[in-house]
Symmetry: C2
Subunit: 240 residues, 2 copies
Amino acid sequence: MAKRIRMKPDSPQCSTCMMAQVCLPAGLPEREMTQIDQLVKERVRLKKGDSLYQQGESLEALYSVRLGSVKTQLTDLSGQSQITGFYLPGEVVGLDGMLEGQHNSNALAMEDSEVCVIRLDDIDEISRYAPSLQHQIRRIMSKEISRSHHVLMALGSLRSEARVAAFLLNLSQRLAILGYSSTDFVMRMSREEIGNYLGLTLETVSRLFSRFAREGLIHINQREVKLLDLDALKQLSGQA
Amino acid sequence: MAKRIRMKPDSPQCSTCMMAQVCLPAGLPEREMTQIDQLVKERVRLKKGDSLYQQGESLEALYSVRLGSVKTQLTDLSGQSQITGFYLPGEVVGLDGMLEGQHNSNALAMEDSEVCVIRLDDIDEISRYAPSLQHQIRRIMSKEISRSHHVLMALGSLRSEARVAAFLLNLSQRLAILGYSSTDFVMRMSREEIGNYLGLTLETVSRLFSRFAREGLIHINQREVKLLDLDALKQLSGQA
DNA sequence: CGTCGAATTGACTATTATCAAACTAAGTGG
DNA sequence: CCACTTAGTTTGATAATAGTCAATTCGACG
């Protein structure tokens, strides 16, 4: 189960964190970087499948993925559920639900993971003397809005092959930012999760992976992928 | 074309606005309400079809719809475009693109409309002495995230009839908040726009409206709708 | 009254889902 | 250590949903 880890008070967190360049502090001036060092007082360690938060719980913090990966999903009254995002290190989860002050989605660890707890109260506190923190929060929220609008575009106007190609390219880009290979990576999610996220069935996703492989666009072995023809994938995905 | 209207300096705006209860200031304490009165220094009046902002323009402000309705859309390199939202009075447009500081969508007036200009600089300025303004901005952004996640859910996991039913119910609820009838209203958007938003063709939308009417769930005459059986629509949409 | 854009309706087609079977990799327990 | 699960994946055959194309119809407006 989820395990909470308290940080030593006054020990710097963000300014010495390896993720700082890709996480919430990214782009902050040096001076303010040290000021937000007290922002993270706690981390949570999650085992694969553990829940970080659930629909209905009161929202007190945001969570920045430090290690591993997390998915968020909505469940409707008929029991249908929809994955709304896959989050990698440096990405922030829990941005929805601030209107009513309670989470309206579930967040689950897709593998053993660790997240930094960013309490809303502390954001307010610290942003009094580090005003750009507010800008960072806005930028992160804006990025999430933009991201979900792009997924909307994919679900609303792309055909299955284009969605899958776009999915691969998106993962590729985000992994590259983290310093991993952009062409050679392991997907942390199952065919079913990919299908759910993209509004397709797991069979369709599997068939498309097989077809892309047959056509020489990718190599695929279970969850290991190698992107062989980025241009063709871009073409397919509408990002020609 | 779009017409900019300067406000008289020092004349109160938000605190005396009819929309205050459903707009950005909603829920603010009385004391802070007057403090944000200088937030809106300008309004923009748009004719039907006018653009409020375009992909690539630098982002300096948010826009709160005061009158009329606005749609936002993304266009990809292949020319395909996807409507990402329909915005009614009190709703805020322009929340994406803060990461790069430039709009990455287009906003267009769906009818003659008027929007309040909320400059980002002024938000920073005013939130120094009205700290809850930051909370309101966060809440509005969070609401947009939540909204788009719910649309994701609709596009990813609902069938066409469920999407259309959910669309009607959603419009109904938002109009009710504005004080209009929740069962009897005029849709400002064409079948094509609805279809684009919902990831369907205009023919499919038209057929479903006809079928719902035949089955006694709604009355429909062009863009005028009357919702006759809310329960059945909820059932259909998965919000049973 | 005629034109034009929007909406409806029908016939047919394409895409993707569903159902089912077989296969793989990675445990689990005798 | 090996048979036996089990969850995840692949592949095929068939079905359903929604898309495409085309013909009207409707309504608003000049």
